[in-house]
Amino acid sequence: MFITNTEEIHGKNITICKGVVSGSTVRAKHAGRDIMASIKNIFGGELAGYTELLSESRDEAMSRMKQQAKQMGANAIVNVRFSTSSVAAGAAEIYVYGTAVVVE
């Protein structure tokens, strides 16, 4: 599966456009991580627990998007965009969307 956030895939030709695919996720860490983060907050610096949370939810959203593209019979996704929102405190909400296409 080729995934890019440009409008075309450089070096390949897009033959069929299949439509928009998307994936979203809302993930939270357990309370221990939240407590650790608020302690770390006194000293400043990177909150490793939340960085992990962010990359986990990104991967989850991406895999859902890929699944959808596969069902549509596409072999690439172009023009991918990430979007974030805030539904609940201490949770990461990531929405990723793109256009599923067939390339050769």
Partner: protein
């Protein structure tokens, strides 16, 4: 008693915070020097004369950085009087540069990184204790060219 705790938090925040920030900036500058060979652009097409593209793929990098207690208090005071909140400016600057660096580190053999987008998310927003942190997600397309320069 509460005042003593407050002073303790303020001093630990000040010393650890400024130490962490200096260390972080040093490592950012070092790694930026190291990755100068991999240019990043926010334009949609690769810039300059390049060999035919062999492969392109999506790369991402993310980081969550928080500000220390001392600076948060300072920022609170500052927002009363108005003006630049310098302590938060360095925070977002650090976070964005770190996210871009992590993105570059995930594809060290690429020729160029195009269509860079930066997204700021909020994990801790709306929490009872307002956490002064920033969550940055950088993403772009890494392109790999054939060896021969055209």
């Amino acid at each position: 008693m509460e005042f003593i705790i407050f002073i303790c938090l303020l001093t630990t925040g000040y010393f650890f915070g400024s130490w962490a920030e200096k260390k972080h900036y040093k490592s950012i500058v070092e790694r930026e020097q190291l990755y100068l060979y991999l240019p990043t652009t926010s334009s949609k097409k690769p810039l300059g004369k390049l060999a035919p593209v062999k492969e392109s793929k999506l790369v991402t990098g993310s980081v969550v950085v928080s500000v220390d207690y001392f600076k948060r208090v300072l920022a609170g005071l500052r927002s009363f009087f108005g003006g630049n909140i310098a302590s938060y400016e360095t925070l977002v600057d650090r976070a964005r540069r770190e996210a871009i660096l992590r993105m570059k580190e995930s594809c060290p053999s690429a020729t160029q990184l195009i269509n860079l987008r930066i997204e700021t998310s909020s994990i801790a927003k709306g929490a009872k204790q307002q956490i002064g942190s920033v969550e940055v997600l950088a993403y772009g397309t890494a392109i790999y060219c054939h060896k021969t320069k055209g």
